[in-house]
Amino acid sequence: MTNVSIMTFNILSILPILILSGFGMIVLLVDVLSSRRLGEKNLLAYISLIGIILAAIFARSPAGTTLFSFNESFAIDNYSLFFNFIFLLSTGLTILISHSYIKREEINHGEYYALILFSTIGMMLMAAGADLLNIFIGLEVMSISIYILTGFKRSKLISNEASLKYFLLGAFATGFLLYGISLVYGSTGAINLKQIASFIASKGGISDPVLLMGMGLIIIGLGFKVASVPFHAWVPDVYEGAPTAITAFMSVGPKAAGFAAFLRILITAFGSAHDEWQKIIYILAILTMTTGNVIAIAQTNIKRMLAYSSIAHAGYLLIALVSANDMGVSGTLFYMLAYTFMNIGAFAIVIVLSRKGDEFIQINDYAGLGFKHPLLALAMTLFMFSMAGVPPTAGFVGKFYIFSAAIKSGYIGLAVIGVINSVISVYYYLRITVIMYMKEPTREFAPLTISPLIVAAIAISVIGTLHLGIFPSKVMEIAQQATLMLK
């Protein structure tokens, strides 16, 4: 037994995570110690929001440098900070849209907020993980919390079913990821991403079939989490069955975290072997975009449609991954932020229109919304335009950056396929707009249950979508600084 060195450790690096863990536990304790009622749990939502804001305030690093902690297994740099901001934003918006929803659905247990916070901790660990162990633990903390949240409507069979499917397939994918990690560890002798990179560089590329297989299995495991196509079977069912607020949450947060880990592993660790993995991701990107967009056209349920649209968006992000240049990485960061605003915004409107016992999620239910609730319809139109990539919205700018990154790396064919796919997607996004404005209502709209919190969430999403679309340069500058740290 050799000596154990005391780990280099910097409290600043994990302060946001510590804050969130602390607040998660406070939420649990307050919930369990207060008598049953507690003002219908308003307090818990506010405590969680305070925790998120505090974590965002303390999420910073000495400017421009990478702060390593725990024997270089944990890296706080501009890249992870940008992702942390996306996670905290999506968590905050989710809590805002959940508040009235879980009350109406009678699932307002305190654990709901605690689990959302714990899941965010997992995402932050993933984005900051500089070795495979940290990334794995982050992935599991995130996933296990979301398995529970998916089945949070305990008495509804559809929610149970979604949860069971997500759990079984998620654990299955975890097995592949782990096996990949063990093969990479066995052939390189390291789990630290930088050490793996220097090992591969010293061999001049990947020639070892075991290492190659390990990399492939890691791609499968993470490909499952970001919902890329051969591993996407769970997405529509889980999105449909989960409580709508959780669907919004898991279409944004885990996807961003998955891409954070994907980029860091593939570019930092396997950067010198990009010829091998770019081919795989290239095919995945085409399959993911095309399948997502084509099947989305046939959907009649808006939650399932958004599920397939989320698969398609994962495809666009995979294009950025294939191009593997600085522009691709900053494009991913920008696109993920834009996607957070537009997707959570769209789900917020789905939640506002739904009522207890009737989710109101058939696309035809939206007929006539434009006359009855013009403001809501306008916001929904904005989010749909943004997802379709119509200027001047955030989605357009994001797609523009991603496709330019692909062209810059010489993947012109891929960029063309991406553009064709965006055109296909315009069809089903605009269909919702057309139905809202051009059709007579088929059903009565229920009296809306609008709480100030959900209005705030929609307002933030609208402002974010427009701001990123009209003035993208400032955010893009920050995203570009973030990518410099990656290599």
Partner: protein, 100 residues
């Protein structure tokens, strides 16, 4: 002499048995047990590699895999119990109100 290769082959066989089990069995609990078998096959390969490479990181990883597997087991059992309470079956072919 038993070499690293033997351990890795055994681990690969166990992993494959787990994968096949997940794909062909229909009972949710047995599927879950097969997933646990996959994770333990990975543990075996980690420990063998750690011994072969004379490094601690592989053993470290095993501790965390075991913990994660336990947490997954607890959550998984809870989900399966919740399904059973509503549906009175855990055969995944019967759990299909949404198309797969």
């Amino acid at each position: 002499m038993i070499t690293i290769t033997h351990y890795l082959v055994l681990s690969a066989i166990l992993f494959t048995v787990g994968v096949i089990g997940v794909l062909i069995r229909r009972n949710a609990i047995i599927i879950f047990m097969c997933i646990e078998l996959m994770l333990n096959a990975v543990n075996l390969s980690f420990v063998a590699c750690a011994h072969y490479l004379n490094s601690m990181q592989g053993q470290l990883f095993v501790f965390f895999t075991m913990t994660v597997a336990a947490a997954e087991a607890a959550v998984g059992l809870a989900i399966i119990v919740a399904v059973f309470r509503n549906k009175e079956t855990i055969n995944i072919d019967d759990i299909n109100i949404m198309k797969w």
